[in-house]
């Protein structure tokens, strides 16, 4: 039912879907409404609005009698998630005109459950960045405040949801790329257990640690989206089917830990009541392990962009070697080049010990967390180390930027699920053991109010 004082963008995803399924709102009308908002995007959150396709889909869906779990839900996807027949550029000049000939598994699942994909969102090029400033197509403004950055790398997805262009958004989270912008845009952001959501059709950055992540307004919406997107995928050998212990999931009296090695800011104190102190002495190594392994994998993953098969190319190369050099010099951005060079350095014969140390650090961290989770059900820590950066602040010092990932990378390298809640300006991050994603949602609900 249309209510004059109530705007569509104020719906939660779950409420919207219920209304749409019961025909209380028309999916054609709501789709038109959100498309209009998308076309008036003032944040540079979107790289493209799929107006024609979205409208056509809405028309088709409106005639359906059996309706999917995400019926009519307006969704924005990050520009590194492949949607058949649409451009996926990873916000890079390298793939500026690349049209995907196939659907990623997550897009297929969204479509199978009747969601409507409105457009693709801006991001740091190839998901490499913390503030969103590394996009080849300009920085994204914060969805809640034009003077602030949105945060990266899923800058556009976060800003789009926060500014009411959609009701849920997908991102990818390699080192905090969903949770950091979620915190800065006052949203719920989630990085699932490694392997629980298929990576098939996600333009790869660091394969062993990245996952598709979800932006929503609350934990109920998140749980709904996760139930659709998760599951074993025959096209992704790293995907795993976790059996969820329903009894454990309910967890009436969760034991929550706080990390001894972290100095929690004052505003966190109310949440730390009733927590137990745990020690993760090697926590500070997460960042080093992360940047060593992530850059190595990125160097290898991005070598396929060579100007030969698809994507941008040059015409005037005199040899194959020249073609590679010219294409990669011309179309990759500075940060992407920096990480490719760093990764190749770490993997080279002379420096292979660095790569091995990186993997060893990660192995140790996994063991530490496994042990810790025998004693606690969840761990609290900040999401971002600082509040959102101002739009015109100098963002050129890579080390300063890498340090902003301090609290988020741990969940990536250890493969554990992590959610951030918008209860504090730097986000309240909650971690749980591998495979305990639903338990994590249940615990998160307690902190939501």
């Amino acid at each position: 039912m249309k209510n004059l004082e109530f705007k569509f963008e104020d719906f939660t995803a779950s409420d919207f879907i219920n209304n749409a399924i019961e025909n209380k709102v028309s999916v054609v009308e709501t789709t038109k409404y959100f498309l209009e908002r998308c076309k008036n995007d003032k944040k540079n959150a979107l790289l493209e609005v799929f107006e024609k396709d979205a409208l056509k889909r809405a028309e088709e869906l409106s005639h359906k009698t059996i309706r999917g779990k995400l019926f009519g839900l307006p969704v924005i996807i990050k520009d590194n998630i492949l949607y058949k027949g649409h451009i996926s550029s990873a916000a890079s000049k390298m793939l500026e005109d690349f049209i995907s000939p196939y659907n990623s598994t997550v897009v297929q699942k969204l479509l199978d459950e009747d969601a409507i994909i409105l457009g693709r969102s801006n991001m740091d090029e190839f998901a490499m960045g913390t503030t969103g400033s590394n996009s080849a197509f300009g920085i994204t403004k914060n969805g809640t405040d034009d003077n602030l950055v949105s945060g990266g790398s899923s800058s556009g997805s976060a800003s789009a949801l926060a500014s009411g262009l959609c009701l849920a958004a997908l991102g990818t989270d390699t080192g905090g790329s969903v949770r950091l912008p979620a915190a800065w845009n006052k949203l719920v952001g989630f990085k699932p257990t490694y392997g629980s959501i298929s990576r098939y059709g996600l333009i790869a950055f660091a394969s062993s640690i990245e996952q598709c992540g979800i932006f929503t307004k609350n934990v109920t919406d998140l749980s709904l989206l996760y139930s659709v997107l998760s599951g074993k995928d025959e096209n992704d050998a790293s995907s795993v089917c976790y059996v969820h212990d329903t009894h454990k999931m309910l967890c009436p009296t969760p034991k929550i830990g706080r990390i001894k090695e972290i100095t929690y800011p004052k505003e966190y104190q109310p949440f730390l009541k009733d927590t137990v102190e745990i020690s993760i002495p090697n926590l500070s190594l997460s960042l080093a392990g992360y940047y060593t392994v992530a850059t190595a994998e990125a160097a290898s993953n991005l070598d396929r962009f060579d100007g030969v098969k698809y994507g941008s190319t040059v015409k005037d190369a005199e040899s194959v070697g020249d073609l590679y050099t010219n294409v990669r010099t011309k179309y990759f951005g500075t940060e992407v080049k920096r990480r490719i060079i760093t990764g190749n350095y770490n993997l080279s014969n002379e420096n292979y010990d660095i790569y091995k140390m990186g993997t060893a650090v990660i192995r140790d961290l996994k063991k530490t967390f496994e042990k810790v989770f025998q004693n606690v059900d969840a761990i609290l820590l900040p999401t971002a180390s600082i509040p959102p950066v101002k739009l015109h602040e100098d963002m050129t010092d890579p080390l300063k930027l890498y340090n902003m990932d301090l609290y988020t990378v741990t969940a990536n390298v250890t493969g554990i699920p992590s959610v951030t809640l918008p209860v504090l300006p730097t986000g309240l991050q909650i971690l749980a053991a591998r495979g305990n994603d639903y338990l994590l949602f249940n615990i998160a609900r307690r902190f939501e109010k």
Binding site: Y200, A206, D236, A237, A299, D303, K309
Partner: protein, 442 residues
């Protein structure tokens, strides 16, 4: 007065030890590729030619976002290969990325195995009693093919072969001559075909071989500089290129020159090797475990199951055939190809004249069917046949011949002539008999 002696005709003086190691690639005959479900056989056009890029998908074309999913049959056949050579099978095996740029390698890395291959060690015994040790057999994916279009001056890429499963058999540097290398390769081909895991035809590129050759003064422990030979598409090319390379390196060392570490290409038209690229600026492949896949566990019970299912290999048949009373030469030829072994065995089920069956198969130029062999076995020459053949042979003898050769060679010579004259129609047994009678009469 002494005539000038051509140096090249003298046998090489044994001043140097020859050290040869082989890297043999063989395509496994799985139905689908190793990391996707594409068929390993491309589609065929109207003229019966394979259609380029007809068996490709996002995975083997390396589209963004595509991920490899391991074909278990490729692992299984690699284990079988290992069992054929008495290898040790690793309990846990890992696929690694070998990173390098080349247009036929769409991902810019080949998924291969560096640190934890499926098979380790193993060996092959040669007829001279020497044992060639294997270092490993690992599993990997093939690359595509570049097609050079000289008319339009462009290079085209066919990705059909991308992702076809390969095994790479790496030997220790135990081989000492071209002949040993050729024998080793024949044995590899025989085992792979008998095990039913590869068709291993070098001419079709289903089996490829890179050869490492180095020379060192006899007695020296330190190995000499190594030259890698490529572009070897037949056993003959392997043999010839090694012979040439030994001569070339010997001449250089004799002149006090150094051997350059390099990759050389066999030029079959000129029968020489030519420098392809200098190895000094060696590629750094930046191997690391493929983060898209988990390690593969190979339980002992699974290996045991494959061991039990292992079919008879050529060596087993050789023993059987010797027991049937065949000569080592006959058994050697009858066990070179699985098809021939099977034909022999099938025919033997219908007729017990093993020696005669063997002769018919060995002497036949064209492949025969079982029924054709039986027909030939039952063939009793009529008097007209004998008269016609005698007539032909008489004419050939009348043309004259060098009779200072041993009788075996003469028989072979006349056999050839008769077959030529009769377009291969003449019955070999009868022909031989008549020729023999002519020769002994004189």
């Amino acid at each position: 007065m002494m005539t000038a002696i051509n140096k090249a005709n003298l046998p090489p003086r044994q001043k140097y030890d020859v050290v040869i190691g082989l890297e043999v690639h063989a395509e496994l005959n799985t139905k689908s590729k190793i990391f996707c479900s594409c068929s390993t056989s491309p589609q065929i056009d109207k003229n019966g030619n394979p259609l380029p890029n007809s068996s490709v998908c996002p995975v083997c074309m390396a589209l963004p976002g595509a991920l490899p999913v391991l074909n278990k049959m490729a692992v299984e056949k690699t284990i079988t290969a290992g069992l054929c050579f008495g290898c040790q099978i690793n309990k846990v095996t890992v696929y690694d990325r070998k990173n390098y740029f080349y247009p036929d390698l769409p991902k810019a890395y080949q998924i291969s195995q560096m640190f934890h291959p499926i098979c380790l060690e193993g060996s092959v015994s040669l007829s001279n009693g020497r044992v060639i040790r294997l270092n490993r057999i690992h599993s990997e994916e093939d690359a595509g093919k570049l097609l050079h279009d000289d008319i339009n001056d462009q290079t085209l890429i066919d990705f059909n072969r991308c992702g076809v499963p390969l095994i790479e058999i790496v030997t220790e540097p135990d081989i000492k001559s071209a002949a040993e290398a050729a024998e080793f390769l024949r044995e590899v081909r025989s085992r792979l075909t008998f095990a039913g895991i590869s068709d291993a035809q070098m001419e079709l590129g289903q089996m490829r071989c890179d050869v490492n050759v180095s020379l060192k003064p006899i007695g020296q422990i330190k190995l000499g500089n190594r030259v890698e030979l490529k572009n070897l598409n037949s056993f003959k090319m392997v043999e010839r290129s090694i012979q040439y390379e030994i001569k070339r390196q010997t001449a250089l060392l004799d002149d006090g020159k150094k051997i350059t570490v390099e990759t050389r290409k066999w030029n079959d038209a000129k029968q020489i090797t030519t420098s392809m690229r200098n190895k000094e600026a060696a590629n750094d492949y930046r191997y690391f475990p493929d983060p898209d896949q988990y390690p593969v566990h190979l339980p002992a019970s699974y290996i045991q199951k494959l061991k039990k299912a292992l079919p008879k290999l050529s060596g087993d048949y050789k023993k059987d055939f010797i027991n049937l009373g065949l000569t080592p030469y006959d058994t050697e030829i009858l066990t070179r190809e699985k098809k021939i072994t099977e034909l022999f065995l099938e025919t033997c089920k219908m007729n017990k004249d093993y020696k005669k069956i063997a002769n018919i198969i060995i002497n036949s130029k064209d492949p025969l069917t079982k029924n054709q062999i039986i027909e030939k076995l039952n063939f009793k020459p009529t008097n007209t046949d004998r008269a016609r053949l005698t007539d032909i042979i008489q004419k050939i003898f009348a043309a004259g011949y060098e009779n200072n050769k041993p009788i075996d060679k003469l028989i072979n010579y006349f056999m050839g002539k008769v077959m030529q004259a009769t377009k291969g129609e003449a019955d070999p047994e009868l022909t031989k008999e008549i020729i023999k009678s002519f020769l002994t009469e004189k």
